[in-house]
């Protein structure tokens, strides 16, 4: 039952479903969620945190007895993906924070995902074990070896059911390929290769080969003093395995075709919007830096997020986006303060819904925003414990810009800039969203009528 698939904003009422994480006032830094991702079927939901851990939730089977509980997500597996490391050569600590998780499509009973910190990408296999062999000849049930001379009868070991055990094992470690910090990974549609991007370079890997990678983009200038632009995000086209895009700190997107050259330094397409002179300020360049780029599921569009807006681009039109949505334009008059406290450098992500009709991104004060591309309506919702009663409908929030503040509104100066929603995820086919608010993961679903 795909409720709400492709439905219009006015028909969708978002309800609280679950929240994961502690309620304690003191948040340990390592519990801060740094990435959220559904797998291709939506059955699994993975989170990575600053402490290098990955937690995978699995959706329980829908029960006919409780149709209003549309499959809750429960912990399926938890493992330590990355540990803090020390680079002795450069005297640098390498953070264990998980920057990104990307799932591979499922090809057998096991699940595979890529997780990365600043320097190293790892391929993890998550598999179930629910049977174990019993009745070995040479050892007893406790594993102790039997005295061979005491064995008089031979038997065939039998598989017997056991309590379900989910194991995560690292199958590949892709290390030592990035001098700078990895900001993106993307699995190719051929399912044989993937790319990892850092500030200045993008590398192409084959899943089977860990000791070599091909450098496909390198924007490092011969002289570092000439450096004016860095790579901020990169992604493969969902269907064309030779095509990928990467975004830059100057607000541009380059689309590259790997068939044209081994080193894709010359782009096939260059997306840039001319600057609006009326909005020019000292911070124009900083706020134009793109923090996330995502292909639509159809592959026809790309969406980019910069500090104040989300933009949708048609791949066939390079000179400007086809749609621009204001996320929190009221911050435009606060840029100096936001620059002073470094909030202006916050990297918000953005996501498409399954039908590419609605886009979502986060903001401050634990607010997140959704924009319906068809109706042009938008809504601001909040992830907070106060709205966390089961199936409670989320009330739209509003920020008051100036003048008289209405009862339910919040003024710009009251916004809590330490509560930022940087990471969100949308189920591939249903109206289920996961929103990471610091150390808590909120899951919202649309109301089932």
């Amino acid at each position: 039952f795909l409720a709400g698939f492709g439905s219009l904003m006015q028909d969708v009422l978002w309800c609280f479903s679950q929240v994961k994480g502690t309620i304690d006032a003191g948040v340990t830094e390592s519990d801060i969620i740094s990435t959220v991702e559904f797998n291709h079927t939506g059955e699994l939901l993975a989170t990575g945190d600053k402490g290098g851990r990955v937690v995978i939730f699995q959706r329980e089977q829908e029960s006919k007895n409780q149709p209003h509980r549309r499959g809750e997500y429960n912990v399926y597996s938890t493992f330590q993906s990355h540990e803090p490391e020390f680079d002795y050569l450069k005297s640098l600590e390498i953070e264990e924070k998980i920057n990104k998780i990307r799932w591979l499509p499922q090809q057998n009973a096991a699940y595979f995902l890529l997780s990365t910190n600043d320097k190293t990408v790892k391929l993890w296999k998550v598999s179930e074990r629910d049977k174990r062999p019993e009745g070995y000849n040479l050892k007893d049930e406790d594993g102790r070896l039997r005295d061979p001379s005491m064995i008089t009868v031979l038997r065939v070991p039998v598989l017997r059911p056991m309590d379900l055990m989910v194991e995560a094992t690292p199958r590949r470690v892709f290390a030592n390929a990035h001098t700078y910090h990895i900001n993106s990974i993307s699995v190719n549609s051929d399912y044989e290769t993937y790319m990892s991007a850092d500030d200045l370079r993008i590398n192409l890997w084959n899943f089977e080969i860990t000791n070599q990678s091909f450098n496909i983009v390198d924007i490092k200038p011969a002289n570092m003093e000439e450096l004016t632009e860095v790579i901020t995000a990169a992604e493969f086209h969902p269907h064309h395995c030779n095509t990928f895009v990467y975004s830059s700190s100057k607000g541009t997107i380059r689309l590259c075709d790997m068939r044209t050259a081994a080193l894709c330094d010359r782009h096939a397409k260059f997306f840039e919007e001319p600057e609006d002179p009326s909005n020019r300020s000292f911070f124009s360049e900083i706020i134009s830096s793109i923090s996330d780029v995502k292909f639509s599921h159809s592959g026809r569009y790309i969406m980019t997020r910069d500090y104040l807006t989300v933009k949708v681009w048609d791949l066939n039109m390079e000179n400007r986006p086809i749609e621009t949505y204001q996320v929190h334009d009221y911050l435009r008059s606060k840029l100096c303060s936001l620059y002073e406290n470094d909030c202006i450098f916050d990297k918000f992500e953005c996501v498409w819904n399954g039908s590419d009709s609605v886009i979502m991104t986060g903001s401050y004060n634990n607010f997140f925003r959704m924009f319906d591309r068809n109706t042009k309506r938008d809504v601001t919702l909040e992830a907070s414990r106060e709205n966390s009663k089961p199936r409670a409908i989320l009330k739209p929030r509003k920020v008051c810009v100036g003048g008289k503040r209405r009862k339910d509104e919040i003024s710009v100066d009251s916004l809590d800039f330490s509560k930022k929603i940087l990471h969100t995820a949308w189920h591939p086919s249903e109206n289920i969203i996961a929103v990471a608010a610091t150390n808590n993961l909120y899951i919202f679903q649309d109301k089932v009528n």
């Binding site: 050569l89 450069k90 005297s91 640098l92 470690v173 290390a175 030592n176 390929a177 990035h178 001098t179 700078y180 910090h181 500030d199 200045l200 860990t210 000791n211 070599q212 990678s213 091909f214 450098n215 390198d218 490092k220 011969a222 002289n223 570092m224 003093e225 450096l227 004016t228 632009e229 860095v230 901020t232 700190s249 081994a262 080193l263 000292f282 911070f283 360049e285 900083i286 830096s289 008059s333 606060k334 840029l335 100096c336 303060s337 936001l338 620059y339 002073e340 406290n341 470094d342 909030c343 450098f345 401050y364 004060n365 100066d413 009251s414 916004l415 809590d416 800039f417 330490s418 509560k419």
Partner: protein, 283 residues
Amino acid sequence: MLGRGLKRKLSDYEESMAGLSCAFDSSRGLPYPLKRQLVLNMCLTKLQTYKMLVEPNLHRSVLIANTVRQIQEEMRQESNQQPVNICPGIAPASHSYAGMESPGISLQLPSGVGQQESHCCDLRSVEDPIENSLLIVSDDDMSSAISSILKDLDFVEDISPPTCLVPTGDDQPKFPENTGLKLEDDRQDLKGAECVFGSFEISNSTSYLKDLAIDDIFEDIDTSMYDSDFCCPPLMPPRSPSLATEEPLKTFPSCNSSSANNIQICRTDLSELDHIMEILVGS
């Protein structure tokens, strides 16, 4: 001040900075050059802070450096259009930044008190105390500052240029013939050249080694045993200075045997030690 829940260290500097940035945001009355100066100060402060970090954030550094360049360019264009108005009594001196010797830009923090010394070509009149209380930095200062910061980033980040091929762990590096790799080789040459110019700090450290007397390096190795005629146990080759202090005593069992055999062995060992020392010292 923005929002609740923000943990901020209260220091005079930060308070005044916050006050100024709020003034920037809220007041329409601030004259443009003053706003620009404020932003410039904030940029330079941030860059200086990043310089002190072991691993500055490349993305942020680039964005801030670009903002500084943009302001710099604007100021340059303005000064080209207007006659230079030099503050009386202060000669415009262009410092080359000692991104070299000093930790970076020596900022006078705006405390709002009195006039600070300014070295620059400044368009504003001297009489305005508010404007003069902010740091005024010359063009060359800014350029050198940005250059030194970006150069340092290179030193910190990219000591070895990347190759297409990245050997990991115990794997032998393989080098397939590949046009992609060839391009990479060309780039490596460029990068090799770049490393030569690299950062001032690299050349600093190598001269340190040359300047040091050889004896000083091995100062803390206990060589008293080699001085005596007494027998010595089998000798370990001299270790590097960093390890020497920790282990030497443990590896040398007491030598209190005085048999002739031992003395023979000791003498052989001593000459071996001399030989090893010669190799290490390279004399």
